[in-house]
Symmetry: C2
């Protein structure tokens, strides 16, 4: 794991260590850099990041609240596996909130809003062309956030974002599917055009099928990467890795 250069330097910019660690860890989990099932030791992580256990621990508590890690007292903390139940729940939440926002957005959008959204579309097409998955993800996030913002319900985005985190780990695996990015950006464009035209019903329908595209692929993804999923609804007790004895874990 990278030693997080400049962590202490960034602290001067208003955010404290806890928030920095939280963001860094969250990013690594959602991006699958830390795979579901991976053990996270407060001690090791603190040593790797060059901070004490306290901010690391506090970050993990927040991540546990988001459902991204499972903490088993006196046993260990593990990146949560993708749970069928959580994915379904996140899908429901996201769908309900984004669709409700869109319904309020129609008729309230300014030309400026449309222009902004179209600029994002262009950037997405560019990312697709370059097969830049990381960039595409960032732009996708921004697109949906902006879409909610134009309805005046932008302050509800963090809730969607948190639910989305559960989905994004699966989404990350679905992007290599054939022409997935192209399909997604096409749907984005359709939504914007219908929104611009003020066609509420069809815009809603387009958004709904867009949101369900990845969800419908989850089972395929699960077949490809079963080890990242959990069969149980309740978190399952993972086994600790054995025989670390030989190698040193720290690269210091």
């Amino acid at each position: 794991m990278a030693p997080v250069e400049g962590l202490h330097a960034a602290r001067s910019r208003g955010r404290n260590t806890r928030q920095l660690v939280h963001e860094a860890l969250r990013s690594r989990i959602v991006s699958l850099e830390l795979e579901p099932g991976t053990a996270i030791s407060e001690n090791d992580l603190a040593a790797e990041l060059g901070v004490s256990r306290t901010p690391v621990r506090e970050s993990l508590i927040l991540l546990a609240d988001e459902g991204l890690v499972d903490i088993y007292p006196q046993m260990g903390t593990f990146v949560s596996r993708i749970r069928e139940r959580d994915v379904a729940s996140a899908q429901f939440i996201r769908e309900a909130l984004e669709r409700a926002a869109l319904r309020d957005a129609v008729g309230r959008t300014t030309e400026r809003d449309i222009a902004d959204l179209k600029a994002l579309l262009a950037a997405q097409e560019e990312a697709d062309r370059r097969t830049d998955r990381e960039g595409f993800f960032r732009l996708d996030e921004e697109f949906h956030a902006r879409l909610m913002a134009v309805s005046g319900h932008g302050s509800a985005w963090p809730v969607v974002s948190q639910a989305k985190a559960q989905l994004d780990r699966a989404r990350r695996l679905s992007l290599p599917l054939t022409a997935q990015m192209t399909r997604l950006v096409g749907q984005h464009r359709e939504i914007v055009e219908l929104l611009e035209a003020g066609d509420l019903d069809r815009a809603d329908e387009a958004l709904c099928s867009h949101l369900r595209l990845v969800f419908s692929d989850v089972e395929k993804i699960r077949a490809r990467h079963p080890e990242l999923f959990s069969d149980q609804d309740a978190p399952v007790r993972p086994r600790r890795e054995t025989a670390r004895r030989g190698g040193s874990r720290r690269e210091t």
Copy 2:
């Protein structure tokens, strides 16, 4: 503040100190026992609860994440004032999720579900008769949770519950309004009957107007208790209480 009897005894029942402190504080904030604007000191609270600062601090971080307290580094932690923006956001979230769930519930409800809901209605009427506001609140919470559960989206309830926390502080103040509890339970009954009849559109309409009843009263409530609200969208820096010099704060 009460010394939280039996806190350590409860620890043996699986939950750790952090969770207990978290729940206790949350309850006190939502019930307005701790009024918006009240300063919360890690040191004092830990001493009062008879635990160390660590679990208290971790609880406060979680509460800050929920928007129930505002933490100003090196200045203090304060029960957040009710913000117009947060209330509107919570209302949007709750409305979108509960209505979406209800739409999925129609046609899927069993007789058992209807019977359970009706039992809750009876209990609510009883609480109304006795003017038992605390009991009514508990039953209201349980009713809406159950309503979401019958749709199969019960796992999304925690999100609603968290949004509701922002609303509940205002709701708490609205209950003394004339016949408020009677009106609410009447609407509950209407929803259940329309759900039982399978009338999707009217059930949705009834739920929507039910959810908006309190929201529409927020401005009245604000006029009565302006000190509990914040004019700013962003959290405002509260002033520390002055001239404590004379008396000792601890009753030990």
